[in-house]
Symmetry: C2
Subunit: 265 residues, 2 copies
């Protein structure tokens, strides 16, 4: 255990930098906060690099909940004013961990696992809450990887991390510089590319989910034209009311749980 009380300390400076995407990219690290997420990071054997505890905030509660974790990890105590500088929330619980990213480089396509029956691909999902919720949902149906386009929100943004409820530690996030190219590669590997379209006749209930890549489009514009063009199958979520579209994370949930239903019957 060590104690840091100067805001000019190098570790504190480093932690402040991790609030910005460019430094999360540069260092390959991100932060998680709160007892629940930090416990989950330990449980899932995430690549934990630092454990920071706010001295005084809720130390007793934190220490009782993280007894085992704190015993086996060389954590750092910082005073409340410094903790607030590194925290990403208005009312921090007082515990933060620095984690090494689990992003996979697609320069080597062999990193994409081809064993799963479906692969989920996100084409420019913008809203951090949606992205986090999609990761959580993907994890809930047992997916181990997810493809995300370059224009998708940063999955290591603190808001995304919070919404994943721990799924971020379990899913390999494959950032694709060129999603279309990766989808072409997957077509060669006998996957079919499926995307939703308001013009489709076939519903999500009338298709099967074997060796499919399900592409989820941007909140405002849907799946990009290039990818629509190369899709093997277009499907629609049939709507009975006046609303014409669903929230992106709800649409993803509806499709993934149709996959679950078909798997169970």
């Amino acid at each position: 255990m060590q104690r840091i009380s100067s805001k000019d300390n190098n570790l504190i400076k480093h932690l402040k930098k991790l609030k910005e995407k460019k430094y999360r990219d540069e260092y390959g690290e991100y932060t998680v906060e709160g007892i629940k997420l930090v416990k989950e990071a330990f449980k899932e054997k995430a690549n934990i690099k630092q454990l920071i505890i706010c001295d005084g905030c809720n130390s007793e509660i934190i220490e009782s909940h993280l007894k085992y974790e704190m015993a086996k990890f060389d954590f750092v105590y910082v005073p409340e004013n410094i903790f607030k500088m590194i925290s990403n929330v208005d009312n921090p619980q007082g515990v933060l961990a620095v984690i090494g990213k689990n992003t996979i480089d697609t320069a080597n396509k062999d990193n994409i696992s081809l064993t799963n029956d479906i692969i989920l691909a996100l084409d420019d999902i913008q809203d951090p809450g949606n992205l986090g919720t999609i990761l959580r949902t993907a994890d809930s149906v047992g997916l181990k990887q997810i493809l995300i386009s370059k224009g998708t929100a940063d999955p290591y943004n603190p808001k995304v991390v919070r919404s994943t409820m721990g799924a971020i530690f379990r899913i390999n996030i494959i950032e694709c510089d060129n999603l279309k190219e990766i989808l072409e590669y997957l077509k060669e590997k006998n996957y079919k590319i499926m995307c939703t379209s308001l013009e489709a006749k076939k519903t999500i209930y009338q298709t099967n989910y074997n060796k499919k890549v399900i592409v989820i489009g941007n909140e405002a514009n849907g799946v990009s034209k290039d990818i629509q063009k190369m899709a093997d199958e277009k499907v629609i979520i049939p709507m009975l009311g006046k609303t014409e579209s669903l929230n992106a994370s709800v649409a993803t949930g509806v499709i993934l749980y149709e996959y679950v239903r078909q798997k169970l019957i």
Copy 2:
């Protein structure tokens, strides 16, 4: 058309008050912002009481999009500094409408429509984004009403209104002082109360959706014990991965679209 340039004008004072729930309750009014939502309010014949345009913000764009609406409604121009005082967003588009609420009083239970095959009831949904997304999803499957418990977030909170994407104008929101009592009344009317439970054996795919009240529970605690006790049926969304629960709006979507699937086959 009139022009107001004093922040001490009574209308401006009134509009500022509508940012707070207590005044939205007192006056039975709420505000919507942005070209898309305001157009939708007109289209859906919402009870529009005021139309406020920011003079100078994006007047040309607004006027071209809302030509017909502005021609038939006695709108008010205000300068940018005043518009920012009444707006609920950081970068307002420059158009805001005051709408009369479409909430139904459950003191008179006859206001609840008993003709639908399912009724959706929300038991203390806390997150405004979730509530708005649930209203949008409910509208997408054709539901005309929704029951909400007293502890549910305010459906007329600007963040909720935005997330509904216009569904707020189409759904009757029935605020229940005592949701349990209303559910008991619905049981007498031959509805079955259904809620999700992690302990349930039966999946959401193994039940039918005729005359069911689907109760969606609070994000952290699920459906309250009292209501769990009176439920006729408990079901589970079967999960194949490690995540134990879904986001409340995703769970609602998954259940409502299983209802749609059964309806279509």
